[in-house]
């Protein structure tokens, strides 16, 4: 390397580093530093209303979270609810895969685009509007469903029924997104596979289960991971649809309720830490096993 070349290279390195400084600062401040702060808060008796901040009992928050009935009941309930509500993910995926397969089938060529655009509509509609409309539809006294069947189903007060309602709502809103991803995955499958299956006289169903579905595993995997990460952070369902009803409380709602609403920062920080660990585990699973589980050539 000549002297002027080396000088150029040094300059390039400096410029390259300068170009990434803003994201580096943003990450350091808003993520890294915040995470460290959460860690510190979670070992403190930190209450913004009582204005306390001390470390005399460093594990008290975790003890409260897991053993003190006042908090642990709500905490375990919110974890249980969050996990149970994930059941909506496979349902939405099956629905999305089903419509994707229908829209990509040879029998449906005309209007396929129109249906596709329609089905994706819920994905661009805000969670607030969706939750408000479905809250009205499920309203026990004057909602559409109970009126239609002339029933008195307690959709909000029963902790199982409210989950069923939320899962139905989430299936409605997630189907379109999964559909688009599956259609994209299907378009990437080489036509020649189907041609040779045709030669063997395979039925459409056989083709779907022997070719399409196995080759869609990368898409399936991607949808599962992103939906689980999103589902673990669900908040609007509890806040708007459930209006804080016990059966709808999620982990993020718990963090909001104790940390922001009631000022118990220390306790809520401990819960944040648990959530962060959950999501990191899911992400690590994604990185570690994506090669094993996923068909890629």
């Amino acid at each position: 390397m000549t002297k002027s070349n080396r000088k150029l290279y040094t300059k390039e390195k400096r410029t390259a580093f300068a170009f990434i400084t803003l994201p580096l600062i943003g990450f350091s401040v808003f993520t890294l530093f915040s995470l460290v702060a959460v860690l510190v808060f979670s070992f403190a008796d930190y209450n913004t209303y009582r204005e306390t901040f001390d470390f005399s009992k460093p594990f008290q928050n975790f003890v409260n979270l897991f053993t003190n009935d006042t908090y642990s009941n709500a905490f375990f309930r919110s974890i249980g609810n969050t996990v149970l509500l994930l059941i909506g993910i496979p349902i939405g995926m099956v629905a999305g895969l089903f419509v994707a397969a229908l829209l990509q089938s040879k029998a449906v060529k005309k209007g396929s685009k129109v249906f596709q655009v329609l089905y994706y509509l819920p994905a661009v509609t805000s969670a607030v509007a969706v939750n408000l409309v479905f809250r009205y539809i499920f309203n026990p006294s004057y909602g559409l469903i109970n009126r239609l069947f002339d029933a008195d189903i307690p959709w909000f007060s029963n902790e199982w029924l409210i989950k069923i309602a939320i899962i139905l709502k989430n299936t409605w809103s997630s189907m379109g997104g999964t559909m688009i991803l599956y259609i994209a995955g299907m378009l990437a499958i080489p036509q020649s596979y189907y041609e040779s299956a045709d030669v063997d006289g395979a039925s459409p169903l056989r083709k779907f289960f022997s070719i399409t579905f196995p080759l869609l595993t990368p898409t399936t995997f991607y949808i599962i991971i992103t939906s689980v990460i999103g589902g673990l952070q669900s908040y609007a369902d509890a806040q708007i649809f459930g209006a804080g009803a016990a059966g709808s409380q999620t982990i993020v709602w718990f963090i909001w309720n104790y940390g922001i609403n009631q000022g118990k920062q220390g306790l809520a920080s401990a819960a944040s830490l648990v959530l962060a660990v959950f999501i990191m585990i899911v992400t690590v699973i994604q990185f570690r096993y994506s090669n094993k589980w996923v068909y890629e050539d």
Binding site: L24, F27, A37, R147, I229, Q239, G259, I279
Partner: protein
């Protein structure tokens, strides 16, 4: 196309007219129409309810259409403040949302694209480390870092005041770029030929000039796709705005959710539905016009990762 597949295709075309195929076709379309009905019905219900009186909307008697189409709820939406239904007016809330959109997106996108350029095309030392460092942030949920951020923003006086500065917690973090977007741009830039950049270097152009003059024009489709999604994300965001904003500074979604809250005792269902309708229409219009971008971009994200 091989001889064999040609034959098969011809066979297929012939078979298209058999009775069995017609039945299958009818059944498939019927299924699609039923699903479309279920997808669209909540929108129709929302719209029809917004024209009803509250007595009609909360009556035990079920009616699809309102007795008379009333625009009262939409009129009420324009007078939220005067009627003391909410702290902010509807138009103001829409404007607040747009303020966040037009400040965060241009700056955040530029920062993300510039960083992506550095990662994709420049000799950045410790490139792998920095990339992993930044991407590890993507697995940290927002709710987990919310509390310290809330405390820090409170400490510098951005929380709980009456003025514009309560919007800053929603604006400032966006200026540091969006890592998901940056990753998307890196992937996209990998297919940009290096020759263009080298030509620019030989002409003595600075890296910034190369980025602005050469790279940005090439990645416009990627920018468009990502900007649309970010715009949608900010428009529909509810969690952070509902925590940080109050009074005149509410965003649209925070305001609409308040319509429900403030009326929790005696719900004004048509008003809530009118608010939801008006809050959803802009995105639906944008989506219908740009649906190609939405679908392509979503598909790309799915495949790339």
């Amino acid at each position: 196309m091989s001889e064999l597949t040609k034959k098969l295709t011809v066979n297929h075309v012939k078979r298209k007219y058999s009775a069995k195929d017609i039945i299958i076709k009818v059944v498939l379309y019927a299924v699609l129409v039923i699903i479309a009905f279920f997808t669209l019905f909540p929108y129709v219900w929302m719209l029809l309810t917004s024209f009803k009186t509250n007595a009609e909307a909360t009556s035990v008697e079920l009616k699809l259409f309102p007795e008379v189409f009333k625009f009262d709820s939409y009129v009420k939406l324009t007078q939220l403040k005067e009627l003391q239904i909410s702290d902010a007016s509807f138009l103001r809330a829409m404007l607040n949302t747009l303020i966040i959109e037009v400040t965060v997106i241009p700056i955040g996108t530029f920062v993300a694209a510039l960083a992506a350029f550095s990662f994709a095309k420049m000799r950045l030392p410790h490139k792998r480390f920095f990339l992993l460092f930044l991407m590890s942030g993507m697995m940290v949920p927002y709710a987990a870092v919310l509390l310290p951020q809330y405390r820090a923003f409170s400490a510098i006086g951005w929380v709980g005041n009456e003025g514009f500065s309560q919007m800053l917690p929603l604006i400032i973090p966006g200026f540091f770029g969006n890592v998901g977007m940056m990753f998307f741009f890196i992937q996209y830039m990998k297919s940009t030929p290096n020759a263009l950049i080298e030509a620019g270097r030989i002409d003595g152009a600075s890296w910034m000039k190369i980025f602005i003059r050469i790279i940005i024009p090439v990645i416009v489709p990627a920018i468009a796709a990502q900007v649309i999604f970010w715009f949608l994300g900010i428009w529909n965001d509810f969690f952070a705005p509902s925590i940080y904003l109050s009074r005149d500074w509410l965003t649209l979604q925070a305001l609409i959710s308040q319509l429900n809250d403030s009326l929790a005792r005696r719900a004004d269902i048509p008003l809530v539905m009118a608010g939801s309708t008006l809050g959803s229409i802009p995105m639906i219009v944008i989506y219908v016009f740009f649906q190609r971008y939405f679908i392509q971009s979503l598909a790309l994200t799915g495949i790339k990762e």
